[in-house]
C-alpha cells in the first residue's frame, strides 16, 4: 500500500488501464455494446469540455457561456481537413491517424484563435458583459457556419471518417486533463485564482489581469476545439445546431453542479449528466426542466457544487515537500 501511495503516478496509470481493460472485456462479452461504448466516448469528450470550461469559469471566476462555439470551430476545421481537403479514411490507419491528429490539433488552434478574437476585446470589461459577448459569439459562429456553403451550411457536414474510438477518447481525455491540471497547479493557476478572488488585489500585486484572463480563455478554447474535432469524428456528421447555446448550457450545468472550482467536479458532472439521461430515456422531455432546477437549487443551497474544493487523489500532484521533510 505504501508502495502505491509513494508511486502515485504509476498507481493512477494502472488504474486507468484497468478501467479501460474492464470496458473492453465487457464489450467483447456483449454486455457493453456499441451503444454504451458510444456513451462512454461522449462522456470522455464532455469531461474535456467541462474541465476546459472550468478553467475559465471556475478557476478564473469569469462567466463564459458560449463554449460550444469554440467546439464548433474545432469540429468544422478538423472535419474539413480530413473530409474535404485531404480525403483521409480509416482504410489506411498509418496514413489516416496522423492526418486525424493533425486535423484535431489544427481545430484546436483555430478555436484558440477564435478564443483570442472573442476574449481580447471583452475580457477588459466586467464579468457580466462577458456572458452576453460569449453568448453572442456562440451564435455568431453558428450563423457564419450556417451561411457558408463550403462548410456544408445548413445541410451540415457529413461523411466524416470515424477515427474516434474508445482508445482515442481515453488517450485524449487523459492527456487533456493532465495538461490542464498541470497548468492549474502552476504559478499561472495561482494567478488565476487570485484574479477570481479579487481582481483588484491581484492587479495590485502586479499580475496583468487582462493578459492572464485572455491567456486562460484562449487555452480553454484550444481544448474545446480539440474536443470538437474528436466529437466530429465520432458522430461522422456535424450540423450547426449541434453547437447551439443549448449545448453550451449543458456544459455549464455539468460544471456548476459538479463543482466549478474543482477539476474533479468538472469530471464528476459530465459523467453523471451524460449517463443519466440515457438511463431515463423515457423522461427525456423532462430533462431540461429538471436540470435547471437542480442548478438553481445547487446555487442556493450548495454553491460550491458536489465536489466543492476537494479533488480526487489522482488529480493532485504529489507534494514535493513531504519527501524533503523526511529526508
Amino acid at each position: 500500500m505504501t508502495f502505491l501511495r509513494a508511486h502515485r503516478t504509476i498507481a493512477t496509470v494502472i488504474a486507468f488501464v484497468l478501467v479501460y481493460a474492464i470496458i473492453k472485456v465487457l464489450n467483447r462479452a456483449g454486455i457493453l455494446n456499441a451503444y454504451y461504448i458510444q456513451l462512454i466516448m461522449l462522456v470522455g469528450i464532455n469531461i474535456v469540455m467541462t474541465v476546459s470550461l472550468g478553467m475559465v469559469n471556475g478557476f478564473t471566476g469569469q462567466f463564459s457561456i458560449g463554449h460550444a462555439g469554440f467546439m464548433a470551430v474545432g469540429a468544422y476545421t478538423s472535419a474539413m481537413i480530413t473530409t474535404v481537403w485531404l480525403h483521409a479514411t480509416t482504410a489506411n490507419p498509418w496514413v489516416g491517424y496522423p492526418v486525424f491528429i493533425v486535423a484535431i490539433l489544427a481545430g484546436g488552434l483555430m478555436a484558440a484563435g477564435a478564443g483570442y478574437l472573442v476574449g481580447a476585446p471583452s475580457l477588459r470589461l466586467k464579468g457580466d458583459y462577458l456572458a452576453i459577448v460569449t453568448l453572442c459569439a456562440n451564435e455568431l459562429i453558428r450563423t457564419v457556419i450556417r451561411v457558408t456553403d463550403v462548410l456544408g451550411g445548413p445541410r451540415g457536414l457529413g461523411g466524416i471518417p470515424k477515427f474516434t474510438t474508445l482508445e482515442v477518447v481515453f488517450v485524449f481525455a487523459i492527456v487533456s486533463v493532465v495538461l490542464m491540471r498541470n497548468y492549474l497547479f502552476s504559478s499561472h493557476g495561482r494567478s488565476m485564482k487570485a484574479i477570481r478572488d479579487s481582481e483588484i488585489a491581484a492587479e495590485a500585486t502586479g499580475i496583468n489581469t487582462t493578459k492572464q484572463k485572455v491567456f486562460v480563455f484562449v487555452f480553454s478554447a484550444f481544448f474545446a476545439g480539440v474536443s470538437g474535432g474528436v466529437f466530429a469524428h465520432l458522430l461522422q456528421f456535424i450540423h450547426p445546431d449541434n453547437f447551439s447555446f443549448m449545448k453550451s448550457l449543458e456544459y455549464l450545468i455539468y460544471l456548476y453542479i459538479g463543482g466549478a472550482e474543482s477539476i474533479s467536479g468538472a469530471i464528476v458532472g459530465p459523467v453523471i449528466f451524460t449517463l443519466l439521461p440515457e438511463l431515463m430515456r423515457s423522461l427525456q422531455s423532462w430533462r431540461m426542466v429538471i436540470y435547471p432546477l437542480i442548478l438553481i437549487l445547487t446555487m442556493i443551497f450548495r454553491t460550491e457544487g458536489i465536489m466543492g474544493l476537494k479533488e480526487f487523489s489522482f488529480i493532485l500532484i504529489p507534494q514535493r515537500q513531504r519527501k524533503e521533510a523526511t529526508a
Partner: protein, 386 residues
Amino acid sequence: MRRLLAIILVCTLIAGVGVGCKKAEVKPTDQVVNLGAISCMTGGSATFGTSNKNGATMAVEEFNTAGGAMVGGVKTTINFINEDDAGSPEVGASAAHKLIDNDKVIGIIGAVMSKVSLAVAPIAQAAGVPEISGTSTNEKVTLVGDYIFRACFIDSFQGTVMANYAYNTLKVKTAACLFDNGNDYPKGLAESFKAGFEKLGGKVVASEAFTDEDKTVDFKAQLTKIKAAKPEFLYLPGYYGSTALILKQAREMGLNCPAGGGDGWDSPDLVKIGGAAVEGSVFSNHFSKDDPSPKVQAFVTAYTTKYGAAPDAFAALAYDAAGLFLDAFKTAGSIKGSDIRDAIKNTTFSGIAGAYKFDANRNPIKSAVILQITNGQQTYLTTVNP
C-alpha cells in the same frame, strides 16, 4: 470518504447502464421482431414527429392484424419502438445506436428532418440495417449508402413543380421568393424554383431571405423590398408558421399577389394562424386527403378515428414508408438486413401517397399534388407527374 462515494456512484451508474439492456427472447412457434422509428417528438417540429410515429404505428398494427410475415416457417409479428430525436442530429444518432445495438431492430422508419437523417444514416448503413425516411427531402440522405431509402420526392423536384404551375397555369411572368437561407429545405426549394421558373422564361425579380426561422417574426423589411419590385407571384417555400406570418404581414402592407409554397405548408395551423391572408394560395404536397380514391379515404377515416385528427402529409408518408418496409419484409421472408434491402429496392408497392418505384439513388419516382386553400380548407387542384 467523498472520493469513495464518488467512485461508488460512478460504478453504480456504469453497472446500472449495463444491467439496463435486455435481450429479446426468441419463441419457437412465433416470434416478435422489433421495428424502430426515429421521430422528433419534442422540439419545434413536434407535430411532424407525432405524425411520423402515428402513421408508422398504424401501418405496423395493420400488418400484425393481417397475420404478419413468415420467416423461415415462423410467424413473425412486429413490435414497434419509437425513439425521440428532439430535432437534434446528436440525439438522433444516439437513438439510432439504441435501436440498432440494444433493440436489434430490423429496420428504421425515420428520421423526419433531413439533418437528423444525415446523422442516422451512416449508423444504419454501417450496421446493415435498412432505413426508410418518410420525409427527409435532402438529396444527400440516400447517397450515404445502399441501405438508405426515402418515401418522398426530393427538394429539387418540388421547386420545379411550383415553377411550372406558376408560369404555365397561373401565367405569371415575374416572381419573388422569401425563404430561410439558414435551412436546407427552403433553400433547396427556392433554388430549384428559381432555376425552373427562369428556364421557362420567367424572371425572379426579388429574392429575399431571413435567417433562422425560429427566431424571425418580423418580415416587413424584406417585404418592403419585395413590394417595391412588384412581383406577380410570391414563392414561400418555408414551414407553415413563418409562411402564415409572412402572408399576414404582406397583406397588411398591401402586397396582394398570389402566393405558393411547398409541403412545409401542410398543416391546419397555416389557416389558423394566417386566416384570410392565406386564402387562395397554392402549395405542392405529397398527398391530398381529399383524394377520392378508396384507399386514401380508408386511411384518412381510420387515422382520424384512431388519433382524433386528420392525417397530414408526414403521417401519410410515414404510413407508406412503414408499409413499404413491411411489404418488403414479407416478400423477403427474412430478418436479414441485406435481404430486406434487396426487396425494398425492387418493390412495386403502391401506397396512399403514390406508387413507389426507386431510382438508382433510392429515391422514389413519384408525382406531386397541388393543393389550394379555399375557404380555409385544402382543396385538390391537380397532380403533377415527374
